[in-house]
């Protein structure tokens, strides 16, 4: 902790000196028009550094907070501690090679990220996806959404003081991991989606596991609602905390549950339906309050909606192939690779050159990831590598809103607000 007024003089950074000094200066400069009453000795002002290594910042988020007593006068967020340059990596990989990297962006819902990249590439290279693959992707995406919201719920409730709840949501996530293990062979970073479809079909065992989950999970959800919705401590710690107005949320570009909690039904599944979201029936929950409690309600309602979507997908699941049968556009199936010469050649060609969209075209495709609008802007130069691949990551936009949200709140609620916004640093730092 450093006293203000002398922060520029006293703060002696040991590394990244210019960076630290610029950040201190930026904090001093932030809305400098506010006059502060310095006469009351109890209203001491100090600068508090939180993170990047802080257990409650959900990753390597760093906050520089100027406190006025217990109240936050102003905040600056410092991100980039998990910057791995994946946009640069993407320019040097084929589209399919880059796909596993997207798992590491929003590592709480890898399935959505795979689908986001694959649909974007399918859009720019004009690849058709079989019907069954669309439904499998939708099931995977919704399971990923539940998995991500479960972590949010557990961590956020733990931030408000209820430790045991974290174990309960993780028990359900464990079931989801088992499903993903059965679905794609990995528990965590699944990489199941392929350009032109998905890697493999759902096994009967996997279908049974999903059905069981769909039947049992709503009971858990109702039980948690009974525990939390009228819980005095939980309610009071979230009600009115981290309120952001609709205008601010739009102006800051917030997305996902955070913008829906302020009354804007901005959902990619409705805005521009991808996969087969226009054929299933679901609601986009919205609230008007824009506070942490509203964000909690939105996410629990979304989980219930996801279950409905999965149930409909299971009913509608059409028969057929799970990957396009066009060896110029997608990997051939392993049966072909192992038993025919052409298949092997095509497999080599796909690995070496990959999918080549037309030269000089560019397009954007976004999906509704658990955190919000996850989009890929791709510019192609006609080769198998993207010329430029820009990731529009929802956490990045949401964190920018967090910077506005924190001003004027209490220091004790900081952690709850970070939990409520639900950022994932792997995604926002790229």
């Amino acid at each position: 902790m450093i006293e203000t007024g002398s922060i520029m003089g006293k703060g002696k950074p040991t590394f990244f000196k210019e960076h630290q000094n610029a950040l201190y200066k930026s904090l001093e400069d932030k809305h400098t028009t506010i006059d502060v009453d310095d006469t009351d000795p109890l209203r001491t002002r100090m600068v508090l550094n939180m993170g990047p290594q802080h257990p409650a910042t959900h990753g390597v988020l760093r906050l520089l907070i100027e406190l006025d007593g217990e109240q936050i006068a102003k905040t600056k967020l410092d991100i980039g501690y998990l910057h791995r340059g994946i946009e640069k990596i993407a320019e040097n990989k084929t589209y399919q090679e880059f796909m596993p990297y997207t798992d590491r962006m929003d590592y709480l819902s890898p399935y959505s990220n795979n689908v986001a990249l694959c649909t974007a590439v399918e859009k720019i290279a004009a690849i058709e996806v079989p019907e069954r693959a669309h439904y499998i992707r939708m099931i995977g995406c919704e399971l990923a959404r539940i998995s991500s919201h479960l972590l949010y719920l557990g961590a956020m409730v733990m931030d408000t003081g209820a430790i045991s709840f974290f174990i309960w949501t993780f028990r359900e996530r464990e079931k989801l991991y088992d499903i993903f293990d059965n679905l794609g062979g990995h528990r965590f970073t699944i990489s199941h989606s392929r350009i032109g479809g998905v890697h493999n079909d759902l096994s009967p065992v996997c279908l049974d596991m999903i059905r069981t989950f769909v039947d049992e999970f709503p009971k858990e959800l109702t039980g948690w609602g009974k525990l939390l919705n009228k819980n005095r401590i939980f309610y009071d710690r979230n009600d009115g905390v981290g309120r952001i107005s609709t205008e601010d949320a739009i102006a800051m570009g917030m997305t996902g549950p955070n913008i829906r909690a302020t009354g804007i039904a901005y959902d990619m599944r409705r805005f521009k339906p991808y996969a087969r979201y226009n054929e299933v029936d679901f609601e986009v929950p919205t609230r008007l309050e824009g506070d942490n409690l509203a964000r909690y309600y939105i996410r629990t309602e979304e989980m219930a909606q996801s279950i409905e979507i999965i149930r409909q997908c299971l009913d509608k699941l059409p028969k057929g192939p799970v990957r396009t049968d066009n060896a110029k556009k997608t990997y051939p199936s392993k049966d072909e690779v192992y038993y025919s010469m052409e298949g092997l050649i095509h497999d080599f060609m796909m690995t070496d050159t990959g999918v080549c969209p037309p030269a000089g075209v560019e397009c954007y495709h976004a999906i509704e990831a658990p955190k919000g609008e996850l989009g890929f802007y791709i510019q192609s130069d006609g080769t198998g590598h993207p010329w430029r691949l820009k990731i529009k990551s929802p956490s990045f936009s949401n964190l920018q809103g967090l910077e506005v949200m924190l001003d004027g709140e209490m220091i004790a609620d900081t952690v709850v607000m970070i939990g409520g916004v639900d950022p994932v640093m792997g995604e926002s730092d790229k």
Binding site: F16, S26, G80, E87, Y266, E362, C363, Y377, W387, Q400
Partner: protein
């Protein structure tokens, strides 16, 4: 009020701004309008005021690696009311890459412009807080420019020692 399509927005842009609208391309349903660099602020404030593009989803920088008009900045705008999306593109020369900030139109352009500055070195005039966002200030290169090597430049950042200081 009836729905407005992207085509109508493009037509009204052409009518209002005439020759400053340089090029309109469409691919797979995404409409991209290239406008003159000096007109970007007027075009964007017009789109916000008259066509309700109140939501700025993203700002995309690209490096074309050509001798003239090397950099591109693409604004990804969304109209929440009409549920449409439009892309506005400008080109910026390599020497002295400057463009006017849009933070006065959309406050949220702040971080996106900082990201574009960090990655490409494009300077947004009038930006309230133009610092690097992912890389530290001590870093002197722009990593997403095409000439920057994939493996980075050794010694470009002073990092803390791997062993604790025992003094």
């Amino acid at each position: 009020m009836e729905n407005v399509t992207v085509q109508e927005v493009v037509d009204s842009l052409r009518e209002k701004f005439g020759d400053t609208v340089l090029e309109v391309t469409e691919y797979q349903g995404d409409t991209l309008v290239r406008v003159d660099k000096d007109a970007i602020h007027d075009v964007c404030s017009y789109l916000k005021e008259h066509h309700r593009f109140i939501y700025l989803a993203d700002i995309i920088g690209t490096d074309r690696f050509t001798s003239e008009d090397r950099f591109e900045v693409i604004y990804n705008l969304v109209s929440l009311k009409f549920q449409i999306r439009i892309f506005i593109k400008i080109r910026i020369p390599e020497e002295n890459p400057h463009v006017v900030t849009l933070t006065d139109i959309w406050t949220g352009a702040n971080w996106n412009e900082r990201e574009t500055f960090d990655m490409f070195g494009i300077i947004f005039d009038g930006h309230p807080d133009l610092r690097r966002i992912f890389m530290p200030e001590d870093f002197k290169y722009y990593p997403l420019r095409k000439e920057f090597p994939l493996l980075g430049i050794p010694g470009s950042l002073e990092l803390p020692g791997t062993t604790p200081n025992t003094e």
